[in-house]
Symmetry: C2
Subunit: 355 residues, 2 copies
DNA sequence: CCGGTTTGCTAAACCGGTTTGCCAGATCCA
DNA sequence: TGGATCTGGCAAACCGGTTTAGCAAACCGG
C-alpha cells in the first residue's frame, strides 16, 4: 500500500506547487528572482513535504563542498587523544568555522592514503606530518586537490606552514649549556611507519640538527648513542628514558622532542628515585597546555600550535579562492624557549666529572 | 594558448580510449565485465590523463557517502582539546575506520545546527550531548538522516548510547559517605547554551539525582546552595571551587561531574593551602587517561569512553545498513567507581561539627 | 547450417540539483 | 498606439558519474 517514504526531491516540490524546478531552486537560492507570493508559496509547500535540497547534488553543480580535509598518515584513532593534535585541530576548527567550512578527517583507507584522499569530498587538504619518505606522496600530490603541508618535509611546489624547529632546539640546548650541563640525552620522535632511518629533513632531523649545532658550539659532540627514539607519547618517553638508563647512560639533562615524551621522561626519572631538576633536567618541545601543570612545570620550547592550524586553513582557503598556485607560500612560525621548573644546574658530581 | 588544465572526466577518458563512458566506468568498478585487454588499456589511458572518478558524482549515483558525521552543539574549537572528547573520538574513529567510513565533524553553522546538518554529506550522524532543550532538536530530527544519540536526553524514537550516570554518581557519593563525610559540595557541568535551568533529564540532572539519592539514604539533604556549576574544564573547576569557598561553604568532600573540573577543584584547594585528601576529598567523573597521573591520582567514576564511541558507530551503521528504524535500540554502558588517592577520611574537625 | 547462449560493449536514462537562454505578458514612455 | 524595457517564470542543458536494457558478433551443440 503505502510505499516506503522516499526522500522528496525538487521535482516533487515543483509538481506540488505547480511550478518548474527552476522556480523551486530560485525560491531557495535567489528568491529575489521570484515574486514574493510565489517564493513563499513554494517554501510552504517544500516545508510541508519535508523537502531540503540534497547536499551532494548541490555540491556537484556548485563545484564546491565547503569542506576541508585534514590528512594524517597515522590512523585517526591515534591522533585524537594526542594533546598536540588536539590543539592543532582547535586552530584548524576555529578558522574553518569562521569561513563556514566543515572539517573532514582523512586517514589511510585500507592502508592507502591516496585512496582515502580520492574518496574524500573536500575542496582542499591540510596534510600534517607527511614526510618526503611517504610511499604515496607522489600520488597524493597528483590528486589534483589543493594541499597545504604542515610539519612536513617541504615540497617546494606546495605551500606549507612550519615552525623554526632548529632555532627552538638550539635555544633549548643553549639553556641547558648555560646552566652548566655537559652530559645530554636526546629523546626523539619515531619517524612515521618506522622508516629505517631518521629523515634529515623531517621534524626529528631538524630538531636534532639544532641540538647538535648548539652543543657543537660548546665543544660537545652528541654521539648517535645518546639519541633514543620512540613513539611520541608519555609511555614512549618513559620507555625511552629507561632504555637509555639500562644502556648505562647517566645524563644530567634530557632534551625531549615532544612534551608528552618529556613528561614520560620525568616520570621515569622519578621511578629511578631521582629528582627533576635536582638530579636531571628535562626540556620538552611544543608547550602543550598540560606543560604548565606538570610537577614540576615543564621547561619547553613553545610553538604556536593553534595558530599553526589557523594559518594552514587561511593559506589553503586563499589557494582555493584564487586558484593561484604559482609561487607557493611557505610560512614559518617562530618558536621560543619557556623556562619553567624542570631545569636547573646539574648536580655537583657531574661538574667534577667534566673537569 | 594552453587553456587552464580542466580536471579530466570520464568522457575524456572514453574518447581518448575509443570506448564508451560505460566501459570506463566498468574498468574501474567491475573490470570482469570487460575483456582483460580493454580494461587495462582503459586504465592506462586514464592514468596518463590523470583521471580519477569524481567522488561527489560517485556519491550522487551510489546514494552513499561512506562518511559519518559527528554532531556537537558546541563549536568545534571547544571540543578538540577536551580529553573526554578526545577519547570518545578515538573510539568513533576506530570503529569508523574499521568499516571504511570517514569522519565529518559538524558544528553549528552560523549558529544553526540544523543548517549545518543540511549541508553535510553524511550517511548518518552521531549526536553527542544534544539535550531535549535544544531549540533545533525538532528540525534535526526531521532532517531525515539516521541519528544515534550519545549522552543526550533520550528521544525514545531514536537509538542511543548512554551510561549509567545515576548509578555512577551514587557509587561516588556512597564511597565518600563510607569514609565518614557529611559535608558535600557538588560541582556540575553547565548546561549547554546556559539554559535557564538544569535539564533534569540531562547528564547533569541524572548525576545530581544519583548524588542526592545516596545522600538522602544517609539522611543528608543536599541543598541547591551546595551545587555550583561551570564550564566542564580545569579552569571551570578552579573557578567553581573558589566561588563556593567565597560563599562560605566548607565541605570536606567534593563531587565533581567531570574529571577536568575535579582536577581544577584540586588545584583550587591547593591554592587555599589545603591538602587533598587530608583536608578535602575529591571525586571526579569519566576517568580520563589523565586521572591516573594527577597528584594525588584521582578517585573517579569510570565510564568506557572509547567503547561508547565504538558502540555509537556500530549502532549507526547497523541502522544505515538495514534501514530498520522500528524499535530503536538503547544501549546503556556500565560505570564503576575507581578509588585512587584523592579521597580519604574527613579531618577530625568536621566530625565534631557533625556530632 | 541453424537456433540458442555467451561475450563484449554501448546508448540512454538516471541520480538531484543549478544555471543559461529565452519567452510571454505587463509596464512605460513618447 | 507602438516599440522598448522590465518582470516572472520555464525548458533544456549541464555537473560527472553509474546502471539498465539491449544489440551484434562469436561461440556452441546437434
Amino acid at each position: 500500500m503505502d510505499q516506503i517514504a522516499r526522500r522528496p526531491r525538487i521535482a516533487d516540490v515543483a509538481r506540488e506547487a505547480g511550478v518548474s524546478k527552476t522556480a523551486v531552486s530560485f525560491a531557495f537560492n535567489s528568491p529575489e528572482r521570484l515574486s514574493a507570493e510565489t517564493a513563499t508559496r513554494i517554501r510552504v509547500v517544500a516545508d510541508s513535504l519535508g523537502y531540503r535540497p540534497h547536499p551532494v547534488a548541490r555540491m556537484l553543480t556548485q563545484r564546491q563542498t565547503l569542506t576541508i580535509g585534514v590528512l594524517t598518515p597515522q590512523a585517526l584513532a591515534v591522533i585524537f587523544s594526542n594533546p598536540f593534535f588536539g590543539a592543532f585541530n582547535e586552530g584548524v576548527a576555529l578558522a574553518a568555522e569562521e569561513f563556514g567550512y566543515g572539517l573532514h578527517f582523512i586517514s589511510p583507507l585500507h592502508g592507502s592514503l591516496a585512496r582515502a584522499i580520492g574518496r574524500a569530498t573536500v575542496d582542499g587538504v591540510i596534510a600534517v606530518g607527511l614526510s618526503e619518505g611517504h610511499p604515496e606522496v607522489d600520488q597524493i600530490r597528483r590528486a589534483g586537490v589543493p594541499i597545504v603541508l604542515v610539519d612536513s618535509t617541504a615540497l617546494p611546489d606546495h605551500p606549507s606552514v612550519e615552525i623554526d624547529d632548529e632555532g627552538g632546539a638550539r635555544a633549548a640546548a643553549d639553556h641547558l649549556l648555560g646552566l652548566g650541563h655537559r652530559d645530554f640525552l636526546v629523546i626523539g620522535v619515531e619517524p612515521p611507519q618506522s622508516a629505517t632511518q631518521v629523515d634529515p629533513e623531517g621534524v626529528t632531523g631538524r630538531r636534532l640538527r639544532g641540538y647538535r649545532a648548539a652543543l657543537a658550539a660548546a665543544g660537545i659532540e652528541l654521539g648517535d648513542d645518546r639519541v633514543v627514539v620512540g613513539p611520541a607519547s608519555v609511555e614512549g618517553g618513559v620507555a625511552a628514558l629507561h632504555r637509555a638508563w639500562d644502556d648505562g647512560l647517566r645524563p644530567t639533562a634530557v632534551l625531549a622532542m615532544s612534551d608528552a615524551m618529556a613528561i614520560g621522561a620525568m616520570r621515569a626519572i622519578r621511578e629511578l628515585r631521582l629528582a627533576v631538576p635536582a638530579d636531571v633536567s628535562v626540556v620538552g618541545f611544543d608547550d602543550i597546555d598540560l606543560a604548565t601543570h606538570t610537577d614540576p612545570p615543564l621547561t619547553t620550547v613553545h610553538q604556536p600550535i593553534r595558530r599553526k592550524g589557523e594559518e594552514a586553513v587561511r593559506l589553503l582557503l586563499s589557494i582555493i579562492d584564487t586558484h593561484d598556485v604559482t609561487k607557493p607560500e611557505h610560512r614559518r612560525l617562530e618558536t621560543r624557549l619557556i623556562v619553567r621548573g624542570s631545569t636547573g644546574h646539574p648536580p655537583i658530581g657531574p661538574v667534577f666529572r667534566t673537569a
